[in-house]
């Protein structure tokens, strides 16, 4: 049990069928797994497919989008085969998700208490009073002072940090196996961000959850993730442990991302840049999807897309600059 992954994603492809026969390959062949108590981060710029990956795991893809291929296994169960009705039992129960902007995920016309109690009663067989008690206990767990009073308040009466704590309380209310956090702190100030991320780590350890953390902030990845997937154009371009990825960066895109960040500990006169912008998902260049922006582009990059290969133990790169590790 211990080393069985909570989540396994195998060759996931989510396409969006647009007008004029355009197909946006938002997620195109992603595979990864998360162990209990492990945090896997997906980093990438907007349009890289990181949020669509999360929504695909939750099976929240609507038309014109569709999961075309791939397996999603939660604790060994093939959830990609479940009907929408069966899936509603999984969501909120086994998989919970928190989003970037807590104000849009909380209902403004119901009290905080009302919303947490609703979730608890929907998924667990509890009386109203039991659910109320559980809700107060959850709010205390996530460090909300005056929990009894907050139960009676409305979302607009709380600050952004408090609202995100409420979201986390709701997410852990049913002891999920997997927590998906999509840019959970992007809308928050740095001092509050640190509080929320620490809270997530605490909850993860306490409940042995697997966490899928989606972020664009490489600083957060460095401090909070065990494993990292760098996404570009709907595909993983580099995959390694957080430590290895930052120390021994291989893919030119990852290097570009790191160099374009202003560093608080060092002074540089000019920041490194990646030329151009992310191409739209229906119009990737042929060959390597990063070839239109890559500083090391070669002739063969424009012809075919490299495979994701293992260049070191557990370090995968999708780039022609690197060769497969010896003996493979």
């Amino acid at each position: 049990m211990k080393n069985d992954p909570v989540l396994e994603v195998d060759q996931l492809q989510t396409y969006f069928y647009l007008r004029d026969n355009k197909v946006a390959k938002a997620v195109d062949g992603i595979s990864f797994s998360i162990l209990p108590g492990e945090t896997v981060a997906i980093v990438g710029e907007s349009g890289s497919g990181k949020s669509i990956t999360a929504l695909s795991i939750m099976k929240l893809i609507n038309k014109p989008g569709r999961i075309v291929e791939g397996k999603i296994l939660l604790d060994g169960e093939e959830i990609h085969r479940l009907s929408p009705k069966q899936m509603t039992k999984i969501r909120g129960n086994d998989i919970a998700m928190i989003f970037q902007e807590p104000m849009t995920s909380l209902n403004p016309v119901y009290t905080i208490g009302n919303q947490i109690v609703e979730i608890i009663r929907k998924h667990q067989n509890k009386s109203k009073n039991e659910a109320m008690e559980r809700a107060i206990q959850l709010l205390k767990t996530v460090g909300i002072p005056r929990a009894e009073e907050i139960m009676k308040e409305y979302p607009h009466q709380l600050s952004g940090g408090m609202r995100q704590r409420v979201m986390i309380a709701m997410a852990i209310s049913c002891d999920p196996k997997l927590l998906i956090a999509d840019e959970p702190t992007t809308a928050l100030d740095v001092t509050i961000q640190a509080q929320i991320l620490d809270l997530m780590v605490e909850m993860k350890e306490r409940f042995q959850m697997a966490v899928l953390l989606i972020t664009h902030d490489i600083g957060i990845v460095s401090e909070y993730a065990d494993h990292v997937l760098v996404m570009y154009g709907g595909q993983i371009v580099e995959q390694a442990s957080a430590q290895v990825l930052l120390k021994d960066t291989k893919h030119p895109y990852t290097t570009g991302l790191l160099e374009s960040l202003p560093n608080i500990d060092e002074d540089v006169d000019r920041l490194g840049t990646i030329k151009g912008t992310v191409p739209p998902a229906y119009d990737f260049p042929t060959g390597c999807r990063f070839s239109s922006r890559c500083p090391h582009v070669m002739e063969k990059c424009k012809l075919s897309n490299p495979e994701l290969i293992e260049v070191d133990k557990d370090h995968f790169v999708r780039c022609y600059l690197y060769e497969r590790k010896e003996g493979q």
Binding site: S159, G219, S222, E223, T273
Partner: protein, 330 residues
């Protein structure tokens, strides 16, 4: 800090209070002190960064400095002239020298206007150039910000976020201002695009001799672009110093907490000891009902009795390094 005479902008004891109305008669029942007694100056060609969390008053300060909002008290000197009480007509000639770039390039550009119309609009309002001259000046600035002259016939939706921010910058710079306020100009952009825009802003500053007030919440971005940095908390400046002094030797507990809260990338190569994190508990108090004495005391790990009684003044701790904290007043 205000010793030199060649300060382009000087802010003196500026306050901006917004009335809070309540009751059936909508009488003023209190004030929200968005900016509360702030003074500093910015030298010619310098970039002053302002950091602070949301609600700290940094954007309000920027708007007051441009007289987009009227100050409740205090004076703003621009190029030696007190502009804080000029009426609409008298301030107009100064407006072309002071411009602003906003955060969200999707919201700040009118989607029904072409790039040419957007960029030439400030010239129509603020100069007496002919149509041909306006076109020429617009093309010049379009090329300077890294767009092509042909782009002037396109509309904002045809551009990506980074390119739109270039249009916003061109629009601000077309009147050839001396002073530009940049209010979170890169926080809506992806990191690789953010770097392009930051580099562009630095290049333009060198080329055109601009003076910037750079407002942001991201401390590493502010550090990259600024010469001096001011830290705001609940409408007041709690620390102001040169970039080097502030980032290497922060005195105020709030600045220290801000600096250690940023997640940093551990490249694993250097042996720089990890800074011990100073964790703040709680949220920013409401600016309509700030704590007595030092407004930071409710979250400060070092707070003592005096902090609730007396408000600390900005004192010069090191040369050019000012801090408002009772820890340093004895």
């Amino acid at each position: 800090m205000d010793a030199a005479n060649d300060a382009l902008v000087k802010v003196k004891n500026v306050k901006k209070y917004f009335p809070i109305k309540g009751g059936i008669l909508k009488r003023t029942i209190g004030h929200l002190k968005a900016v509360d007694d702030v003074s500093f100056s910015i030298m010619k060609g310098e970039t002053l960064g302002i950091v602070g969390e949301s609600g700290s008053g940094k954007s309000t300060l920027g708007r007051v400095m441009l007289r987009l909002l009227d100050p409740t008290e205090g004076s703003i000197y621009f190029n030696g002239t007190d502009i804080s009480h000029l009426n609409r007509r008298k301030i107009r000639p100064h407006r072309r020298d002071m411009q602003i770039v906003f955060q969200d390039p999707f919201a700040s550009l009118n989607s029904k206007m072409s790039v040419a119309e957007l960029i030439e609009e400030p010239l129509i309002v603020q100069s007496s150039l002919t149509k041909a001259e306006r076109k020429e000046q617009a093309i010049e600035i379009i090329e300077k910000v890294g767009l092509r002259a042909e782009d002037r016939l396109k509309y904002p939706h045809e551009f990506s976020g980074g390119q739109r921010q270039r249009i916003s910058i061109a629009r601000a710079l077309v009147t050839r201002p001396k002073f530009v306020i940049c209010d979170e100009p890169v926080s809506a952009l992806d990191v690789s695009i953010q770097a392009q825009v930051l580099n562009l802003m630095k290049d333009l500053q060198d080329e055109l001799g601009l003076t910037y007030l750079f407002i942001a919440h991201d401390l590493s971005v502010v550090k990259h672009i600024s010469n001096r940095v001011a830290v705001m908390y609940l409408g007041r400046i709690v620390e102001i110093a040169t970039k080097k002094s502030l980032y290497n030797n922060a005195y105020h507990p709030y600045t220290q907490a801000l600096l250690t809260s940023i997640p940093v990338i551990d490249h694993g190569q250097n042996d720089i000891p990890r800074k011990t994190k100073i964790k703040l508990t709680g949220d920013l108090p409401s600016p309509s009902d700030p704590p007595s004495g030092c407004t930071f005391r409710t979250r400060c790990p070092m707070a003592h009795e005096r902090c609730s009684l007396e408000r600390p003044e900005l004192i010069e701790k090191d040369a050019g390094h000012f801090v408002a904290c009772h820890l340093y007043t004895e």
